[in-house]
């Protein structure tokens, strides 16, 4: 029996295990929306297409599944670009389905036509234009396969209106056979042996763990590895949660706003074991000053990440989980007392920890760090936290001690303001019972504030904590430090009354202006089963420290 393109699409999605998609309808996809009307797939109607991709991304990050979104052609498609680029930079598996004008009109500057394949080519892992309905099922199969395997990433499928209306026999392929795409999962045994020998010999080893540990679900293996050999662990922003943040071996985040002890450990280690991390400039600071005394082992599934920014001594291309399992097996044979072997190195790190602790002074005005710390304490670190971008993001990374993978959703690579709220929506859809909190700034939250209508429509109890300093705080901080306090256009002199705004959308608004109101506000918000905006009126000119200025080596931290 023949089926229409729209039916084939939705049935293919179901066969991929998709139960929820995020989207926004339009002329080119009206056929798909018609088929969705009585499909078991749940559709979440967002209020802007950018939010559809971020929500699918938040769904993917929190659950480990592939996020899916559906938008129309032209402006619907172009509105997804920031979301796609965000997912691409952080290696998040998302399938983006875009409508397209009918095949006969492509290239004619038709109404709501955009060459979305061309526009997104540099920020997708791969993309398809389906020109024939007979190719549709295979394309969907491949799109999911590519998005979710190897180094994950967004895949775009452009669907012309006539292809969706056309019909064909529906046979969903069982497997994918792609001559040109075969990611390497298994680490090379010889390289692993070499790395193992180096690890045994090292006096001051350090693990530098990134988002790849989380994508490959290798937290358990990493934890075993680090604890067995007593090797301290520092994580990138993307890696937070891959190793318990409260463990004695955890040094917190490294890099520009990393902890003193983490950056000092990197600078002084003699072996750096990078796992699923890519030596981003915000992590390394000045390259020459990054781990200057160390041999470097780099485990990554993407060969292009290896030796891109920094020369490594032992590259291992492979899945973090597979490689760590193999290393852990080798370790079992070595019955040494690693704790006492590491004593000197761990003592040194402990000293650094006490030299400079993350700290702030809570006086009359609410300190933003205090808010994050209280959110951490009250949720016992069990919540799913998303962030926007800027100071709110860095304070969250510093003061919320993530202990489990997939509990921090943040735009690390692209640094997308407006990411956190829709990502929180995606996570809340994936985990209806969990507490999901977007820690936001008053600038960022306004970039996708329209999604308050979405949370109202679907009764999603997402919580938003706005660290409201009436500034674009991170840029203001830089202006203060490097531009003589010339606060050029970073003062948000007018913002909405967030409490009233919440109420206008049918959510609850709470405001705290004094330190003693912080805890009751958080507790009250968490007791409400609706969406809540908490407006914390915080210290206006609080800065994020420590800070490594751009271009400086990691050891040169500004400490306050």
């Amino acid at each position: 029996m023949k089926k229409t393109g729209a039916q084939i699409l939705l049935e293919s999605l179901q066969l991929e295990g998709v139960d929820t998609i995020f989207g926004f309808p339009g002329g080119s996809v009206i056929g798909i929306y018609d088929a969705l009307f009585n499909s078991p797939i749940r559709h979440i109607l967002v209020r802007h297409e950018q939010a559809a991709v971020h929500a699918a991304d938040g769904y993917a990050r929190s659950s480990g599944r592939i996020g899916v979104c559906l938008v129309t052609s032209g402006p619907g498609a172009t509105n997804t670009v920031t979301g796609i680029a965000t997912a691409y930079m952080d290696s998040i598996p998302v399938v983006v389905l875009t409508g397209q004008v009918s095949t006969g009109l492509i290239g004619n500057d038709a109404f709501q036509e955009a060459d979305i394949m061309g526009i997104t080519r540099p920020c997708t892992k791969h993309s398809y234009l389906v020109k024939d309905v007979k190719e549709l099922a295979r394309t969907i199969k491949e799109a999911f396969y590519i998005a979710g395997t190897g180094r994950p990433g967004p895949v775009l499928v452009d669907l012309p209106k006539d292809v969706i209306a056309d019909s064909a026999e529906f046979n969903y392929p069982e497997s994918v056979n792609m001559q040109s795409y075969n990611p390497t999962y298994r680490g090379h045994r010889g390289q692993i042996q070499k790395a193992f020998k180096l690890i045994l010999k090292a006096n001051r080893p350090l693990i530098y763990a990134g988002g790849g540990v989380i994508s490959s679900n290798a937290s358990e293996e990493l934890t075993t590895f680090a604890r067995t050999l007593s090797i301290p662990v520092t994580a990138t922003l993307m890696g937070l949660g891959c190793f318990p943040g409260v463990d004695d071996l955890s040094l917190g985040m490294l890099g520009m706003h990393g902890t003193y002890r983490a950056n000092m450990a990197v600078t002084n280690c003699d072996l750096l074991i990078a796992i699923g991390a890519r030596f981003d400039d915000r992590v390394t600071g000045k390259i020459d000053g990054f781990a200057p005394n160390a041999k470097i082992i780099h485990i990554d599934i993407d060969p292009t990440s290896i030796s891109k920014n920094i020369r490594v001594h032992i590259p291992i291309v492979g899945d973090a989980k597979d490689v760590l399992k193999k290393i852990n097996k080798l370790i079992q044979e070595e019955k040494e007392d690693w704790k006492s072997i590491r004593r000197e190195w761990l003592d040194q790190i402990f000293q650094w920890k006490n030299t400079y602790l993350l700290a702030y002074e809570q006086k009359d005005v609410i300190k933003p760090q205090y808010v994050v710390e209280k959110i951490y304490e009250i949720t016992k670190g069990e919540a799913i936290i998303s962030t926007e971008v800027g100071q709110n993001q860095m304070w969250t990374a510093q003061y919320y001690h993530f202990t489990k993978p997939r509990t921090l959703l943040t735009s690390g690579g692209l640094g997308t303001m407006g990411y956190g709220f829709p990502a929180a929506i995606g996570a809340q859809i994936a985990f209806p019972e969990k507490t999901v909190i977007d820690i936001a700034g008053d600038g960022s939250i306004q970039m996708n504030i329209q999604e308050l209508a979405t949370v109202a429509q679907y009764n999603l109890p997402v919580k938003i904590a706005i660290l409201n300093n009436r500034y674009l705080g991170m840029v203001r901080q830089w202006q203060g430090l490097f531009h003589n306090k010339r606060y050029s256009h970073t003062s948000l002199e007018v913002s909405p009354d967030f409490v009233k705004l919440a109420e206008a959308y049918g959510a609850v608004g709470l405001r705290a202006t004094k330190p003693e109101e912080v805890v009751p506000t958080i507790e009250k918000a968490l007791s409400i089963s609706k969406a809540v905006i908490m407006d914390f009126v915080v210290e206006q000119e609080e800065d994020v420290y420590p800070m490594v200025p751009v271009g400086a080596p990691l050891k040169e931290m500004l400490l306050v």
Binding site: M117, G118, R121, P122, K125, H126, S127, L129, I146, M178, Q179, S180, Y181, D302, P303, T304, S307, K308, R311
Partner: protein
């Protein structure tokens, strides 16, 4: 250093755009790029001549390999291979110089593919040195136009890539 890279790619729309976009987006140079179908019409062969230090060339080959539509990438640098380029040259041919031009073309085993009372169009193929040499020799006669294909390359020996 100049490197000649050969890539076997799926013969699909957009592949060239992906490769070109990769080079422009990451700031790599393309000195020449030549692409056409292989014996198997589902694949094409690209020959890319590029320049960069070892780290840049390593990134180029890795990034090319990462593209989903690319099947195989080989950097011929340091290996034994043959490369050739074809050039079409339209040169002014006055009565005083016509005989000289013919002699040059003969020495280079080129062909005259079009003749007018005032010009010759010459086809020559060869490696970079040969192409440069004939251009240098013909320049004094007055070159009106040149069109070059860019390099194609193949490894020596019985094995393919």
């Amino acid at each position: 250093m100049s490197h000649t890279i050969s890539a076997l790619v799926l013969n699909q729309p957009g592949v060239l755009a992906r490769v070109a976009g990769l080079f422009s987006g990451r700031g790599f140079n393309i000195e020449s790029l030549c692409v056409a179908e292989t014996l198997d019409p589902s694949t094409s062969r690209m020959t890319i001549v590029t320049r960069g230090n070892d780290q840049v060339i390593e990134q180029i080959t890795k990034q090319l390999n990462k593209l989903v539509d690319i099947i195989k990438v080989v950097d011929f640098f340091g290996s034994d291979y043959v490369d050739r380029e074809m050039i079409l040259i339209k040169v002014t041919a006055e009565s005083s110089s016509r005989a000289e031009i013919l002699r040059i073309v003969d020495i280079f085993r080129g062909k005259i593919v079009d003749v007018t009372p005032k010009s010759y169009t010459i086809e020559v193929s060869g490696d970079e040195n040969k192409i440069r040499a004939i251009i240098d020799l013909l320049k004094p006669m007055g070159i009106k136009e040149v069109v070059r294909t860019g390099k194609v390359a193949i490894s020596r020996g019985s094995k393919g890539i």
